[in-house]
C-alpha cells in the first residue's frame, strides 16, 4: 500500500491505496465521485479527463499514488467556475450531448480550449477535440457549443 495525500474539489484527503489503483478508480470507487467516466482505460477516449493542478490529464492512466500532493478538479468541482458555467449552458443550447457518457471529459477538455486558446477557430477546436471521443453527436453540436463560448468570451 502507498500513502496518498491529495486535494479533490477543494477537500484535503489522505488515504492508503494499492499502487495499481488508478486516479480514476480512486475518484470513482473511493470518493464516490462518479461524474468522472471510464471508457477505454488506456488514454485514448478522453472520458476520464480531469484537471490536475489546473491542467487536463487522463485519470485512467495516472496512478493515484503518483497524483500524491496534487490538486484535482473533477466535473463535480466546477459549480462556481465561470468558463464551465458558460460551457454547460452552451452544451445545453447546442444539443452537444446525447447519452452523456463522454460529456464530463468533453467539458474538461472544452474548458481547456476556451481558456488556453482564446483565438481558436473551428479547425483548431476540432484538432484539440481529437483526444475526446463522442459516438452520439457527430461533434457538430460540441464544436458549435465551444465556438459559441469562445465568441462570447472574446466579446
Amino acid at each position: 500500500m502507498t500513502e496518498l495525500s491529495i486535494k479533490i474539489n477543494g477537500e484535503n484527503i489522505t488515504a492508503d491505496v494499492e499502487p495499481r489503483l488508478s486516479l480514476a478508480d480512486f475518484i470513482r470507487d473511493h470518493r464516490r465521485l462518479t461524474g468522472t467516466h471510464l471508457g477505454c482505460e488506456h488514454g485514448v477516449c478522453g472520458a476520464c479527463t480531469v484537471l490536475m493542478n489546473g491542467e487536463p490529464v487522463r485519470s485512467c492512466i495516472t496512478f493515484a499514488a503518483v497524483a500524491d500532493g496534487t490538486e484535482i478538479t473533477t466535473i463535480e468541482g466546477f459549480d462556481d467556475d465561470e468558463p464551465m458555467a458558460q460551457l454547460r449552458q452552451a452544451f445545453h443550447e447546442n444539443h452537444a450531448l446525447q447519452c452523456g457518457y463522454c460529456t464530463p471529459g468533453m467539458l474538461v477538455a472544452a474548458r481547456d480550449i476556451v481558456t488556453r486558446l482564446p483565438d481558436a477557430d473551428e479547425d483548431r477546436v476540432r484538432l484539440e477535440l481529437a483526444g475526446n471521443l463522442c459516438r452520439c453527436t457527430g461533434y457538430v453540436g460540441i464544436v458549435n457549443a465551444i465556438l459559441s463560448v469562445l465568441e462570447r468570451r472574446r466579446a
Binding site: 478522453g46 479527463t49 487536463p56 487522463r58 492512466i61 500532493g69
Partner: protein, 271 residues
Amino acid sequence: MKPAKFEHKRMTSLDDVVKVLGEADGETRVLGGGQSLGPMMNLRLAQPDVVLDLSRVEGLADIEEAGDVLKIGARVTHARIEDVEVPGTTGAYMQFVASGISYRSVRNRGTIGGSVAHSDPAADWPSALLALGGDVIAAGPNGVRTISLDGFTMGPFTTGLGYDEVLTGFELPVLGADARWGYYKVNRKPGEFADAIGAVTIGSAPRAVCGATESAPFRVPEIEEKLAAGAQEISVADVRTVLEGHDAGFDDYELQIHAVALSRAVKRAFA
C-alpha cells in the same frame, strides 16, 4: 484494464534511483509521466514488479541554453515544449513535433525523457531527436555519462541505457536561424501513434531519419547527401528507391508510406 500488482516506490533523488535499480530483484521500471508505461500496464503488456516514481526527484525538468548546446531535462513535458519553452530554431522544430504527440491531456503529463527511454517505435521523440542529433545524458552507479543519440534507440523498447542507469536529460544542438527542418507523420487521426515518420534537419550537416519502423528509426545517408548537395525536393519515387536499399523489413505498403513521409518532410523544410 487494470494493471497487475506492483510495488510503488517514491524516489527522492537520482542516487536513490540508481541504487534501487542496481539492487533490483525482478523487473523494475522507472516512471516519468507514465503516459506510455501507464497504458501498457493497464493492458498488461508491461507487468513490472517495482515502479520507481520520479515525481519527487528535483532538477530533471530544466531547459537551458548553454553556448552551442541545449540542455533539456528528462521530465520536461511535451506540453511545455509545445508552449515554446525551448528557444530558437531547435525549439521551433521541437514545438512542431510536440504539438503532434497524442492529445493535450496526455502532453501535460508525458515527458520527452520517458518517451525516449520507453522507446516505442511509433513514438515521436526517438525519431525526431535522432534527426536533430546530440546526446542522451544518463546517470548510473559510476556517475553521469553521455550516449550519442545515434544508435541509442536499438529497437522496440530497447535502448543503450544500462539496467542500472536512468535517463536524466539531453544535450541537443542549437540549430542556426537559417537552418531548416521538416517533420511528417503518417497516421489516420491526429494524435495517434505514427505508421511512418519522416524527419529532416538541415543545418551545417543535414540529417534525415526514417522513423516509426518495426524496429529502431534509422538515418538515411543517401538523402542526407542529396540535402547537403542542395536538393530542396526529393520525390517519393526517389526516396522509395533509396529505402529499398535499406534492410528495414518493409513490405510494399510500409515502403510507400515511409517514402511519402520522408519526401514530405523534405518538402515541408523548404515550404
